[in-house]
């Protein structure tokens, strides 16, 4: 199924159909998702505007505190978005976890997706000892899966 989805991504001709992300950030996202399991976890990875490089991990509160829904707290959302503005950053990655289902955008995820420039990273924590990590572009209701390229060089930790 994974392979089939990738073929669809190529079919749409997304020239930049890859998310390149540092392994230390992926580890931090997975740790956040595990910590909040069985509730869904959510957050952002900011990066310099136009760089497409996620460099600053910002775990966010799930204001819904739910096993099947997440929502940024509206005041934390404003504060973090202002902070990114001040730093000339943008939300390169917006992530959340699914705790009992696969790491694929639900209809709800697609309906709410309001950052066409962001990579939507999903982590599934339904298996206790392994995580499924997948990334998508969601633009005008169209979901395009992309590869996740985990590297060791983009961030000094």
């Amino acid at each position: 199924m994974c392979l089939a989805t990738r073929r669809v991504a190529n079919w749409f001709g997304n020239v930049n159909a890859v998310l390149t992300i540092d392994s230390s950030i992926v580890r931090a996202i997975v740790a956040h998702a595990r910590r909040d399991h069985p509730d869904e976890a959510c957050g952002v990875v900011a990066g310099p505007i136009g760089s497409d490089v996620p460099t600053r991990h910002i775990p966010m509160d799930n204001a819904a505190r739910s096993m099947t829904f997440y929502e940024f707290d509206s005041m934390e959302h404003l504060r973090v978005w202002r902070e990114m503005d001040d730093n000339d950053e943008e939300p390169v990655v917006i992530y959340h976890s699914h705790t009992a289902t696969e790491a694929y955008p639900s209809r709800t995820d697609v309906s709410f997706a309001g950052e066409p420039g962001a990579h939507y990273l999903l982590v599934s924590t339904r298996e206790p000892d392994s995580e499924e990590i997948r990334s998508f572009r969601i633009v005008d209701g169209v979901v395009t899966e992309e590869e996740v390229n985990i590297v060791d060089a983009t961030v000094k930790s």
């Binding site: 829904f69 929502e71 940024f72 404003l78 978005w81 699914h98 639900s106 309001g114 950052e115």
Partner: protein, 104 residues
């Protein structure tokens, strides 16, 4: 009355790409009508067919979420700064249930 409005990426197709636009009005609903007169169609992305604020966006007056200021009735003053952000929400839950949970 000049009020600064910060427009998110997803709505900049209505503002010719502008990140910040000006509007006028003594309440949020008057401001949105004024914005729609200048940037046709933007109102439909902020307000539902039933006339309430759309669940997909957060609107702030200065540093306050308008839902705590009377929503569309929120009073505005010259020099206020409005920020519009698309809500970041989702999850495995079905869409209808999610919308009901949000209650907006």
């Amino acid at each position: 009355m000049a009020i600064e409005v910060r427009v998110p990426t997803i709505l900049r197709s209505y503002t010719g790409g502008a990140k910040v636009v000006e509007g006028a009005g003594d309440s949020l609903s008057a401001l949105i009508d004024d914005l729609d007169a200048r940037h046709s169609g933007i109102k439909g992305r902020l307000i539902t067919a039933e006339g309430g604020l759309h669940r997909f966006v957060n609107i702030y007056v200065n540093d306050e979420d308008v839902r705590f200021l009377g929503a569309l009735d929120a009073k505005l003053n010259d020099g206020d700064s409005i920020t519009i952000l698309p809500a970041v929400a989702g999850g495995a839950l079905g869409f209808a249930a999610a919308a009901a949970l949000l209650g907006r």
